[in-house]
Symmetry: C2
Subunit: 148 residues, 2 copies
């Protein structure tokens, strides 16, 4: 084997080992996705209170939180990795065995939060309400099947 090839292969192997080292540990993935869902709740809670009239509707705050939600909706999926459905989690193993349904549910969450962020720009509660309910349904849809 010539020297250049050896060096290239070694570099490739270092690359692989680097990649393996960089892979997230199961508990990190659990903590990560839990963190994202805490942030989802942190934003969705006050939005719900506004929609229900428990607190005064504030169009600017509502729109800011709707944008947060839309950004957050793209984040949790990569935290659902193999070996993370046993400890310190309410996520059910069905996520792994029925991944396509779960991933489709997440995509639905993404598109519905995008629609809510768009509706929130209007500042009109009547226009926002149905978009808000759609998002709430995407939460429930996945929780029923995939959350303990």
């Amino acid at each position: 084997m010539n020297k250049l090839l050896t060096v290239t292969i070694s570099a490739a192997l270092i690359g692989i080992s680097g990649a393996a080292l960089a892979a997230p540990k199961p508990f990190e993935a659990v903590e990560y996705r839990k963190g994202i869902f805490k942030a989802v709740k942190w934003n969705f809670g006050p939005m719900g209170d506004m929609m229900k009239g428990k607190v005064e509707f504030n169009a600017e705050e509502f729109a800011r939180r709707a944008n947060n939600l839309a950004a957050l909706s793209h984040m949790p999926l990569e935290g659902f990795i193999p070996g993370t459905y046993e400890r310190s989690t309410a996520a059910l193993p069905a996520i792994e065995s029925d991944w396509q349904t779960f991933a489709a549910g997440m995509e639905n969450f993404q598109s519905k939060t995008a629609e809510l962020a768009e509706a929130a720009k209007s500042g009109d509660k009547g226009q926002i309400a149905p978009a808000f309910m759609q998002v709430a349904r995407t939460c429930k849809g996945c929780h029923d099947k995939f959350k303990d």
Copy 2:
């Protein structure tokens, strides 16, 4: 007092009590901001590994994570509320006593992550590297002063 006025005041008081009920509890705020910082680390870690050459540079993944960071950078500040610097947190009371410096540090984090997301669109590691280092410095800047 006429009946209409009584009803209006009662409604106003319900509104106030609703607002008070809706205010986040200290432990929720701590969990929320910790969740955001876990998500920051989850994204920043692999970006750092790519910049250091520990894993192969992937322009698309890097840009996606840079966008996540830019969105996340706007979220933690509202989790730093009074009464949340004693338990289950590495956040120092200096955040409260020197709020202006802390808030300015967060704004700096926001603008530098926005610049990084912009640089990441180029897909050019040489252009990205200085923007990445700038973000890393904003992390360290606040941690030195405000994190245990």
